[in-house]
């Protein structure tokens, strides 16, 4: 339990650093560390597959691309567009509203009540695969089609001249 609190502290600490660091490249680097702590959380929950997929997909691929884009843009303090105070105030209000909504909906779900899994080994690859392909086959396939269509959409958007397709 103490380990959980330590890792949870690290997650919150690094995610705050993501927001507060001035340099966007530092933000991404802190985000990588934050995702690493998430992987540790998954391992503590005995969800090996989720942990390692989080490791590969988020740390190994998505954040590499984030870093790639930010390095090319080379943002720094001088070139950062100054936002007006009105925008900042609106942003704070919108953020607080989102926080309120999320907190309220989580309270309705009783997410803080302890959940006992019927099968504590559900996070291991073999069990997870069986559940996904037997009980939740339709949602699984639908979400894969959703991902595929998003990919096709991204390729289409990236084409310079659509008429040539």
């Amino acid at each position: 339990m103490n380990l959980f609190y330590f890792v949870a502290f690290l997650s919150i600490f690094f995610s705050l650093l993501v927001i507060f660091s001035k340099n966007p490249v530092y933000s991404v680097l802190y985000l990588i560390v934050t995702f690493f702590t998430f992987s540790i959380h998954y391992i503590l929950l005995n969800a090996q597959f989720l942990a390692i997929v989080n490791f590969i997909v988020y740390m190994g691929a998505i954040l590499v691309l984030f870093l790639y884009v930010l390095m090319l843009l080379n943002l720094n303090k001088e070139s950062e567009p100054m936002k007006s105070n009105l925008l900042k105030v609106v942003g704070v209000i919108a953020g607080l509203c989102l926080l309120l909504t999320v907190a309220g909906s989580l309270k309705l779900l009783h997410a803080s009540d302890p959940v006992l899994l019927k099968n504590p080994d559900i996070g291991l690859v073999r069990n997870l695969g069986k559940v996904l392909f037997k009980e939740f086959l339709l949602p699984f396939e639908v979400s894969s089609i959703l991902l595929l269509s998003a990919m096709v959409g991204a390729v289409l958007l990236a084409k310079k001249d659509i008429t040539k397709v």
Partner: protein, 349 residues
């Protein structure tokens, strides 16, 4: 956790780490000797007999050179990048099974640091982290050539990871497990049930794709675009000097060693060797012989890496991308489909 277990693992980790460093150091000598042989030269031969002390001399030179940190760079990340490169290169060896269990007295010792049941995915994750050291090095040097090198490294690694992952999926369909230990055990001996037991003979195309992708992931020629010296000076390590440069070069050789070990384990039977069950030797001797055979396979692959380096010239960047996206990925998907059909048909027969 009992004390003997901790001691056992600490000893194993230190031995593997020292062996990794030793092999990485002597790979530099081997590379220069092989380059010399291929180009009709002698290679280094001054430091000791046949130049065997050359790696020590090189290391000493690296230590005593001046450390330069460019004034416009980001000093913290500039120093962190080579450390990260070394770290991500070395942690991959943790899940490789180096040999069969050794029994001393009544204690069974596993020659593997961590027997996790998602071993392949762990290797894959570590490989995908390897690019961070290069990217951070390129960005923090604040140099256009370095930035170009790190951008190339990032896009190259992302592109080849996909084909690598797909070739591994076909392998998983054959082996039905993600644990490297079980994969090594399945390839016991050399001949089983009327066919070769090594996975290479079930997955030759998968192995070819994996081999090409590991060349790309290690940034070895013909895929060393991130550091191509005649376009980008030296790419991501242009600004590095002294031991920080040494750390980058070292991590490249460690990467080569680890990926050779992974290839031997996944496709070439790991610590298994032909006729291992017919010799009538005790289990411990077979385990020791198995470790030796695994290292022989690893050395062969390291030699293969060097052989390719001095034979095949560097690709152009568009050729690299075409090979990755238009050849390797469709080929690996076709390999998955063929493997799936073969597994189904085999059960029907």
């Amino acid at each position: 956790m009992e004390l003997t277990f901790v001691i056992e693992k600490v000893v194993l980790v230190s031995v593997i780490f020292l062996i990794t460093l030793g092999i990485a150091a002597y790979s530099t000598l081997a590379e220069r000797k092989i380059a010399g042989y291929i180009q009709g030269r002698v290679g280094p031969h001054r430091a000791g007999p046949f130049g065997v002390f050359q790696p020590l001399a090189d290391g000493g030179k690296m230590f005593f050179k001046e450390e330069i940190i460019p004034s416009q760079s980001n000093p913290f990340l500039f120093i962190a990048a080579p450390c990260l490169a070394l770290l991500t290169a070395s942690i991959g060896s943790a899940v490789i099974p180096w040999g069969q269990d050794v029994t001393i007295g009544d204690r069974v010792i596993q020659l593997q640091v961590a027997n996790i049941n998602v071993g392949i995915l762990y290797i894959f994750g570590v490989v995908s982290l390897g690019v961070y050291g290069i990217m951070i090095a390129g960005w923090s040097s604040n140099n256009k050539y370095s930035l170009m090198g790190s951008v190339r490294a990032a896009s190259q690694n992302i592109s080849y990871e996909i084909a690598m992952g797909l070739s591994l999926i076909a392998l998983l369909m054959v082996t039905q497990t993600l644990s490297l230990r079980e994969i090594a055990e399945q390839q016991n001996g050399f001949w089983q049930n009327g066919w070769f037991s090594w996975n290479f003979f079930c997955q030759p195309i998968g192995f070819l794709i994996f081999l090409v992708c590991s060349f790309a992931e290690c940034n070895r020629t013909p895929f060393d675009l991130p550091e191509s010296e005649n376009e980008l000076v030296a790419g991501y390590h242009t600004e590095y000097s002294g031991f920080k440069l040494g750390a980058f070069l070292f991590s490249e050789y460690i990467n080569m060693f680890v990926s050779s070990a992974v290839m031997s384990t996944l496709y070439f039977g790991g610590y298994n060797f032909p006729f291992m069950n017919d010799l009538g030797l005790s289990a411990n001797i077979i385990a020791v012989l198995g470790v030796l055979f695994l290292f022989a396979k690893i050395f062969f692959f390291i030699f293969f890496f060097m052989w390719i380096r001095w034979t095949v010239p560097r690709f152009r960047y568009d050729q690299l991308m075409n090979l990755g996206w238009k050849v390797l990925i469709p080929l690996s998907i076709a390999n998955i489909v063929v493997t799936g059909i073969w597994i189904t048909v085999k059960d029907l027969l």
